[in-house]
Symmetry: C2
Subunit: 513 residues, 2 copies
């Protein structure tokens, strides 16, 4: 077999059966290998940031890696922003990047860049495979790296001659590397803090925001009086009825500082010390009070569930029932407001749905108004690189094998970054509902601009305004094969949402806000 | 003044008066500075690869740099592919990238990447400005670097605190760095080759493909019997009636090898030894015959015009009239074919138009059938990173101050990479006509796949086919405020083209091929 066939066979034997691809010439042998093997589900994205975002969404829901297949150099560059988000989400991705033949790239052909330099900016593991005999082995190592430490971006660079040369050897999947163990001393130390000190906050991230993690943390909170909070941005949080309703760190630096002010002790559970998203003149970088003490229960590369279990044991904390999330609200009426939209989402969201939240400024308040929705997994923009929403929603729907409704709450400015994902939703007939929050401006920047000190003048406003001409999302969606309609009030929005949830295909609602 | 104001003032005093922007929070002080100064034309792109591609197109036509304004980390990443194309085009770009405050980024906030590592992959000059007193000076240095060596990507990283701190000093523009001089010995040597040897090819690139460069090269050819060829990919070539009709190196490795086979001596005029775009099994990387001798008249960083003038003097070559390009053809009728489209373009193209050619597989034959068009500047995809066409066309129209018609010959697969550029065309009311060549597949890859050895099977074809669902470019364009219509035959296409050329606004034709 050639190298490409050995790569595909090794991926399959390593449990990687989904490939999000945008291939080019240097990847044609890989594509040919797909016809010579069975079992790989290939999903095409019309630009690489779609492919990498889908791989991120896939991991967040499936908790196992998919592969990408990207074109050399600029192909990888186009997909970096969503790989950055994936890195911040700690999503495991087997990131396969084609490249020129090893002997060809030294001639600096037009389409060559420093592939490894690009890859290193987002990857925990990078290897260029240079021999056909070893490429199967390298592939298995790449999958192993993608699964390690709770999930990592692992990049395998695949020169075209290594793909086409004969002599490939496929390899059985390697066993998982052990995660760094939880330290018993650290657990005891945190238990002592929780027993003996006042004003303790447990700041949760990663798997600590899963249903099991939240339940364990809640038991600790009930036993000790500690308070709980999750990071502002999370790969997924288990939310809705029956899950522990937990507040996020606020986005605003001032509000975050206020939220942390009263906590003298902060226990980090897979989180890191809270850093402001941006710096602002005269405001600190770190959001906790200078006198606060940080205690690490578990690092992001460790297993939060294991750490929380050990902590409940050390404390003798009994399992506590999750507090009630209250009555599920009913749908709202009238002109769209953030509160009414959140209420309507909480009212209508189907059981076990997945929410891809890229609502940016409009959605700041969605979170606290949706605790009483049906059980769901809620996803955030972990790395702040806008344009994550539609691709991650698409990959999540594929990971859920089309069995779960995916709802995108999508700001219009960010949505334009990766609108091509809608085409993949149509092609794969995915149960994705997108609500585009059409305010026709970069509203977050209008807010940030005001923080600079003044109202934007005409030149500045030109940079923040998307209304001239107005984007027509109904036409954009239709142009990519996705049915769509416009809603100007909450009644229309609720009707379209309900209707879309019954469809076996994507649907887009442009909500004029 | 604060640092941001000193940057904007320094840009203006350095002759940079156009900024292609997609700013974020860390760039808000720069945006605010735009309202405090006069004279900067800011153009918004809805994704960074639009902004960087526009800056490339601007240089190709204006021959002076514009600046970009990109958001930190992933913002730069999103714009890298078109910066790569710009680097290969040797386009001068003042690439301004915001970043976190210097003291903030050490805390590794979510939206931080290794900005300089990303920048180095495409830039000849990279500097992070770390003090408000120096940022004006750094800006002037950046502009100087962008103009140097015939045009370079120069990246200035601008931390937000350097923007907002008071104490900025604006600087008068620095004078241009001298280009590396033409070597008289090299000129004499090439003159001797041209006088004394047979089967000499002059391979032209960069400024040698300008109207003046081609005329000088033609004079040399007429005086010595040498043959002329231009690179396969060129930033701009002066074409049409009255210009020297010159053939390109073919894309296909086999055809290129055939084209070079008979040349024993190859004189490089700002070109490099011809390298295949990709490697293929059993085919060489270099396209010239192994026994061929390469002679460097001028390197890409030198001035080709100066070199060619020196060469005509050394040879005593007299100015020769350009050969006739023949009769301008008339418009074609019937079902679309590449030949009929090329003929129709040649018939209808207005005087002094600009052509952005990203026609990929369909357009392989366009070039030789359009020699008899009205005089025009024809642009290519220099770096092979697809998605250059629409942004570069947009930037070119702005450089031409809306006074020249820009025609995009745009493959559909590549067009989807950066379709957001259409919105900027609508907002800026640019005289851009786009013909989308809608074959609804990655046809170049179908060809490349066949070179692998077989017809694509069902899984592979799924990766190469864009027809399920079919993209509707008329709706996509309308969704971004660009009027559009579909053409199914050449008569309709010609009608729509003619009509569009009279408009003071963009228009898109989806040509079903």
């Amino acid at each position: 077999m050639n190298g490409a066939v050995s790569v595909v066979k090794t991926l399959l034997s390593s449990g990687v059966d989904t490939c999000f691809a945008n291939p080019g010439t240097s990847e044609m042998h890989f594509v040919a290998a797909l016809d010579q093997t069975r079992g790989m589900h290939c999903v095409l994205g019309l630009q690489e940031n779609i492919a990498t975002g889908m791989a991120d969404g896939y991991w967040r829901i499936a908790r196992r890696p998919a592969s990408t297949l990207l074109h050399c150099g600029p192909g990888l560059a186009n997909g970096l922003a969503n790989l950055h988000n994936a890195r911040r989400a700690r999503s495991g991705i087997v990131n396969i990047v084609g490249d020129h033949a090893t002997y060809h790239r030294l001639h600096d052909p037009a389409l060559s860049m420093d592939t490894e330099a690009l890859a290193r900016t987002v990857s925990s593991w990078v290897r260029t495979s240079t021999s056909v005999e070893r490429v199967g082995h390298d592939t298995a190592s790449c999958v192993q790296a993608a699964r390690a430490a709770g999930g990592q971006v692992a990049t395998l660079v695949l020169p075209s001659n290594v793909s086409w040369d004969e002599g490939g050897v496929s390899v059985d999947g390697f066993s998982d590397l052990a995660r760094a163990p939880i330290d018993a001393f650290a657990v005891d130390n945190v238990a002592r803090v929780l027993r003996e000190r006042e004003n303790v906050l447990m700041l949760l991230a990663g798997d600590a925001a899963s249903e099991v993690g939240l339940a364990l943390a809640w038991s600790v909170a009930e036993a000790t009086g500690a308070r709980l909070m999750v990071d502002y941005l999370n790969p997924t949080i288990a939310r809705g009825r029956g899950r522990v309703p937990i507040e996020r760190v606020p986005y605003s630096t001032d509000l975050a500082i206020e939220a942390f002010a009263r906590f003298e002790q902060i226990v980090l559970v897979n989180s890191k010390g809270p850093v402001g998203f941006f710096a602002y003149p005269g405001k600190p970088s770190m959001q906790y009070a200078p006198a606060s003490q940080l205690h690490v229960l578990s690092r992001p590369d460790q297993d939060a569930i294991q750490a929380l279990r050990a902590l409940t044991s050390a404390l003798g904390a009994r399992r506590a029932a999750a507090p009630s999330t209250g009555e599920r609200p009913t749908i709202a009426a009238g002109a769209p407001t953030p509160e009414r939209l959140a209420q309507t989402v909480a009212a209508l969201l189907p059981e076990n749905a997945i929410v891809a939240d890229e609502s940016i400024s409009y959605g700041r308040g969605f979170y606290r108004l949706t605790h009483a929705a049906a059980p769901n997994d809620w996803m955030h923009l972990t790395g702040g690189a806008i344009g994550y929403g539609l691709p991650v929603a698409t990959g999540a729907a594929i990971a859920a094998r089309r069995q779960r409704r995916v709802l995108s709450l999508q700001a219009d400015g960010s949505g334009m970054y990766t609108l091509q994902a809608l085409w993949t939703q149509a092609r794969e007939k995915l149960p994705c509902t997108t609500i585009v929050l059409a305010n026709r401006k970069y509203n977050i920047l209008v807010g940030e601009y005001k923080a600079v000190g003044a109202l934007p003048g005409p030149t500045a406003m030109q940079m923040l305004d998307l209304g001239n001409p107005a984007l027509d999302w109904v036409k954009l969606a239709a142009g990519m094969g996705v049915e769509a309609a416009r809603a100007e009030n909450m009644e229309q929005c609720a009707d379209l949402m309900s209707g879309s949830f019954k469809r076996d295909a994507p649907f887009l609602i442009e909500l004029l806000i």
